[in-house]
Amino acid sequence: MIKSLQQRLSFDKTVSIAPLITFRIVFGLLMFLSIVRFWWNGWIESIYVQPKFHFTYVGFEWVQPLGNIGMHLIFLCIGLSALMIVFGLFYRFATIVFFISFTYVELIDVTTYLNHYYFISLVAFLLIFLPANKDYAVDMRLHPEQRRLTVPAWCVGILRFQMTVVYIFAGIAKLNPDWLFEAMPMRIWLPGKTHLPIIGSLMYETWVAYLFSWFGAVYDLLIAFFLLNKKTRPIAFAFVLIFHIATAIFFPAIGMFPFVMIANSLIFFSAAFHQKLQSYLLFYNNRLKKTIPNSQPYYFHFAPLMKAALYIYIAFQLVFPFRYLLYPGHLFWHEEGFRFSWRVMLMEKSGAAYFTVKDKISQQKIEVNNREFLTPLQEKMMSTQPDLIVKYAHHLANEYRQKGIQQPAVYAEIYVALNGSRSRLFIDSSVNLAAEKLGWQHYNWVLPYLKKSN
């Protein structure tokens, strides 16, 4: 296993460039379609133009929306660079533009965080360094002498690694008592799916919720290994199709995620498979007539540096999702170390938050109308996530200071229901949140999680 991992990520061993070419085209197309969909739904305006306030990430407070025209321009950049990636036109430039513009947009507001957006940012970052334009690309018509048939093994291996990380960590995340022994949140979600043809009537059955939960966990934990193994690959890919199409049907609100996973799972297939696939593409055979490719494998100029960077990247990917272990308390309740860890559709959590601003000097008391400052989506996300709560409290303190309250103290009465248990007081209502720090430390003003008593 370890040995094969070394081989898969080797700088010396070379493999066919074919999987990388398919990956580039499919990824670019999917990103282009996602941007079109996002634009079409009017989400650029409703998510990035209309809100008066944005929940920035710690350390990225400088990332701000760029106004109506600016945001549409940046989405235009993302869309066009995605198309350029598809065609392999000015590939390095296009991947850099895509990575920066896409990541910029994602960093604007924490409440829009989705695991597959994080995945897309990571893949876009990797693509900057991968020679995915060295065959069947417009760039190679411009510079035929650069065409290659082989690349160092890690160029394909790192993408397979990234996919594997998503699956396995999503699987590990499901190994919790609620998911396995209570079938939560499936038990809550599935009764809402009785409209489905054929299987609809089964959705009220508890055993179906257990089946879905356990199947999902086993699938996530093992699917990558079966995709890696040549013998099991075809059946494994059939499972990928069934699983993700099913999630798309059951949970349409999950958006592009199933399609991203299906398309990118193609990376696990062999060079021969990809060559066959690409042979159906326009001009695929024409490209051979032009020149004979450079028989040397693609060569990295700063190989030792790249190697070091690669190992750091891999280590980060393996360690970062486990950072929640450094925090006390129940992960789903506190959500400390929850994001950027492939925890997808893992819990049913909803909250109601009531904020009060008090002036320490004049003893004025004002109950905050959240809708004055936040969109319904922002309010929903904020109500259950401690770091967003404290961020919002700081914003409220600023707003009310400008409205003439000299020393605003911000208090919140918040109730949260998690995975089928009844709503409970979430934070200490007597704590002035305006004075609490935002950061990586444990927030001790969040009340401890109490096991359900339904």
Binding site: N41, W43, S46, I47, L114, H116, P185, I188, W189, P191, G192, K193, T194, H195, I198, I199, G200, S201, L202, Y204, L211, F215, V218, Y219, L222, F225, F226, T232, I235, F239, I242, P252, A253, I254, G255, F257, M345, E348, K349, S350, G351, A352, Y354, Q364, K365, I366, E367, N369, R371, E372, P376, L377, K380, Y415, V416, A417, G420, R422, S423, N454
Partner: protein
């Protein structure tokens, strides 16, 4: 590796058997031991929504008659008659206001008939057009101009027609003495427009019914999600613009008594009580046994939650009923009672937005978006 392969095959078998056996089992659309959502939605449309619109059509017709009598001969007696008709019509409107989705939403019925100012506008100063304000300036300008466009999508446009405008024109200071042909025409035009909108929504529901009944999903935009979201939206309106914000909750106790709903008619509390009753009817499906959202919760093994929600409705209703009309007076003379009702309503909001929303797997979000 062999073990893994074996378990993988086992899962495959399980999945295929699931799909195959389900094909045989499901002969009819009504699950034997499950809850029939289509029947629930049928009951909502036939026992609650459609009849309420029909009654609304009758009430507005009756109001037109009383209004014509008042216009023709404005005096204390015709004013009293129009007050009765107006109150009945406004109360009936409150009953249908909770169906602010589908046809009503498309027609912007709530904006044109009883504009609440929106939840994203807070009360900060007198004279601002927020909550259940009346734009008397625009109304008077419209009347003296004699020409106006009632279809404009502006806040002052919304605030100068529908119930806010009518209750000012019928019951405002000098409503009797100021009556003239221009004023009379404006009143008649407002009523005619209200009737057109109500007829449109009532008729549209006949066609919309099948869409409503057949969509048993719980995604955002589905009827069940509409119902759950409307309950929490209406409770937010009750808590904010109807009683809490006029009480001064956002303004350190500074009372905004003129922003009470139907301020000139002085029936704010009757409307508020009717509002909460209507939300409760939306929750229970007009008390038709086995056909309400409350029954769906029971079917989902949430009977304790259901009991708690029903009890909280009753507590909040009792507290609301303890506040006498006109609310504009009670805000100043009995603020504690209003505050007590406010607190109980907030508890109900919490139950709806957290427990009920979670149990029914409905997102409280008035917009569509991705999530994971």
């Amino acid at each position: 590796m062999k073990k893994i392969t074996a378990s993988f095959i086992a899962m495959t078998l399980l999945l295929t058997s699931l799909f195959s056996c389900s094909k045989n089992e499901n002969k009819d659309d009504n699950p034997a031991n499950g809850f029939d959502k289509a029947a629930m939605l049928s009951s909502y449309s036939d026992n609650l929504i459609i009849p309420a619109y029909a009654t609304m059509q009758q009430k507005i017709a009756a109001l037109q008659i009383a209004s014509d009598a008042f216009i023709a001969n404005p005096n204390a007696s015709t004013q009293a008659a129009v007050k009765t008709a107006y109150s009945e019509t406004h109360l009936q409107y409150i009953k249908i206001a909770t169906f602010n989705f589908g046809p009503a939403d498309n027609a912007l019925l709530d904006n044109y008939l009883n504009f609440c100012g929106g939840l994203d506008y807070s009360f900060t100063a007198d004279g601002e057009l927020t909550g259940f304000s009346v734009d008397t300036n625009s109304i008077n300008n419209n009347i003296s101009a004699g020409a106006y466009n009632l279809e404009m999508l502006t806040r002052s446009g919304f605030y100068s027609q529908g119930f806010p405008a009518l209750n000012y024109l019928y019951f405002g200071n000098e409503a009797i003495t100021k009556m003239d042909s221009k004023r009379a025409k404006y009143i008649s035009d407002l009523l005619a427009r209200m009737k057109i909108l109500i007829d449109k929504v009532a008729n549209d529901w006949i066609g919309y019914r099948s869409t409503f009944v057949s969509n048993t999903q719980t995604n955002s935009g589905s009827p069940i999600a509409y119902i759950v979201n409307q309950m929490s939206y209406q409770l937010d309106l009750l808590k904010g613009p109807r009683i809490g914000w006029p009480l001064g909750k956002q303004s350190n106790g500074k009372v905004f008594e003129t922003k009470c709903e139907a301020y000139y008619a002085g029936i704010s509390m009757a409307l508020a009580v009717e509002n909460l009753n209507s939300i409760k009817r939306l929750y229970t499906g007009n008390n038709v046994s086995g056909k309400g959202l409350s029954d769906y919760l029971v079917a989902l093994n949430q009977s304790t939650l259901n009991t708690d929600v029903l009890a909280q409705f009753d507590i909040a209703l009792a507290k609301l009923k303890a506040i006498p009309d006109p609310l504009s007076n009670s805000l100043l003379t009995q603020p504690t009672k209003v505050d007590e009702a406010y607190k109980e309503i907030q508890k109900l909001v919490t139950l709806m937005k957290t427990d009920v929303a979670s149990a029914t797997a409905v997102q409280i979000s008035y917009a569509d978006n991705d999530g994971d």
